[in-house]
Symmetry: C2
Subunit: 231 residues, 2 copies
Amino acid sequence: MKDGARKVSDSTSQAARVPAHEQVYQKLREQILFGEIAPGEAVTIQGLTERLDAGMTPVREAIRRLTSEGALQFQGNRRVIVPHLTDANISEIIFARQWLESHLALRATERATPADHQQLTFMDDAVDHAIQQGDLRNYLEMNYRFHAKIYDLAGAPILSEIADSLWLRFGPSLRVMIGRVGTQNQPDKHKAVLECMRTGDAEGSARAIREDMLQGMEQIRRILEISGDDR
Amino acid sequence: MKDGARKVSDSTSQAARVPAHEQVYQKLREQILFGEIAPGEAVTIQGLTERLDAGMTPVREAIRRLTSEGALQFQGNRRVIVPHLTDANISEIIFARQWLESHLALRATERATPADHQQLTFMDDAVDHAIQQGDLRNYLEMNYRFHAKIYDLAGAPILSEIADSLWLRFGPSLRVMIGRVGTQNQPDKHKAVLECMRTGDAEGSARAIREDMLQGMEQIRRILEISGDDR
DNA sequence: TGACCCAGAATATGATCAAATTTTTCCGTG
DNA sequence: CACGGAAAAATTTGATCATATTCTGGGTCA
């Protein structure tokens, strides 16, 4: 009954170890994180089963997970959307990230090895490259990976998860903001962070990361304030 | 084929508006939060379908949600357990709760009305009552509700969610701790918090809540340190 | 001790039922 | 005669379950 043109177990040869619901989760997560789904846009189960070529159950589970993390939002009735950020939301996120990013950067600086410094430098170069190319999607991804690497280095899994989940909340709006302002106008403090990490200046890293974060978040706030039109 | 001895829609008469996966989530969440499932204990899908008298799909979704929130943990293979807390975990939770609880208490103090003060007083009385009775389960629940009410008053949904998810992480261990120490030896700072809230001393509330939290968390750390045996 | 087999548990699909939104139809009014 | 709006039909989408399939772990036998 399941004869021919299905995709039984050939998907990625040896990637069969990863359960479907996990794969679906990862894919959907990235699509939200990097703004492929706009704030306010609806996410339907059946739409995703086609879009991601998956069954209904795995999609369902992925949606639940992302809803828990604040990346998606129940819409009273049983619709699910990518939430809009309110001004109050942004304030909360800024408040939380001030603590989180500073602390994680501080710990990361203390624990990072030269090899880690090099990896971070590569990532930052990739960010710069994406900026030059005006490659929006790649900019978002590389910028995220830079920060995510720092989270990872901090060796604080719980705090890292919280930071990650915050990123999921503002990711879609970040994309809107950059889409309007352009990648060119994105000054970041990554160079300063790298310098501090190399010299072991943990406090300095924390301060630089905090400023980097604030720049971005305030820019999001400004853009979303002006244009409440993206619905 | 759906006629006879099934449980089609008779479960709770008019509670049909709440989806099953939501109900299952709430129930399982409480069971974890109030320590009915011990750290290290396995949680099986089929076990829950019986335990909560639910279908397999809703149970699955509830487990995914709780896993996202850190209340459950994938065990490499496809087992799911209530995670053990490590010493490092506790440090992270303390760090996070220090700023979260303080900030939420501060905001709550600024926004609370006399009616809210009264509700909090009732809740604290319930805590005291549970302590006198030595009613472990009720103590845990009322203590949680006291804090949750403060989160609610703060009017900061994102931060509240984070605080809630942290509670899910240490809930099971809190139960272990109190189960060993007894409800009697649980001094709390709730009275001080209430007094500060009534007089509008926001900083004072923040400090008192922070101390209350620290007391509890350090006690958990101490107990778990001594006895690595609960597995 | 190591390989094999079996039981049980988890993953994943498709079918089926229910709810909600959208579209269509129809009637009354200006 | 056209327009607006309410009611009803139709379509779309979500919720749940029964079932088939796959994988893990443990026990047994050589």
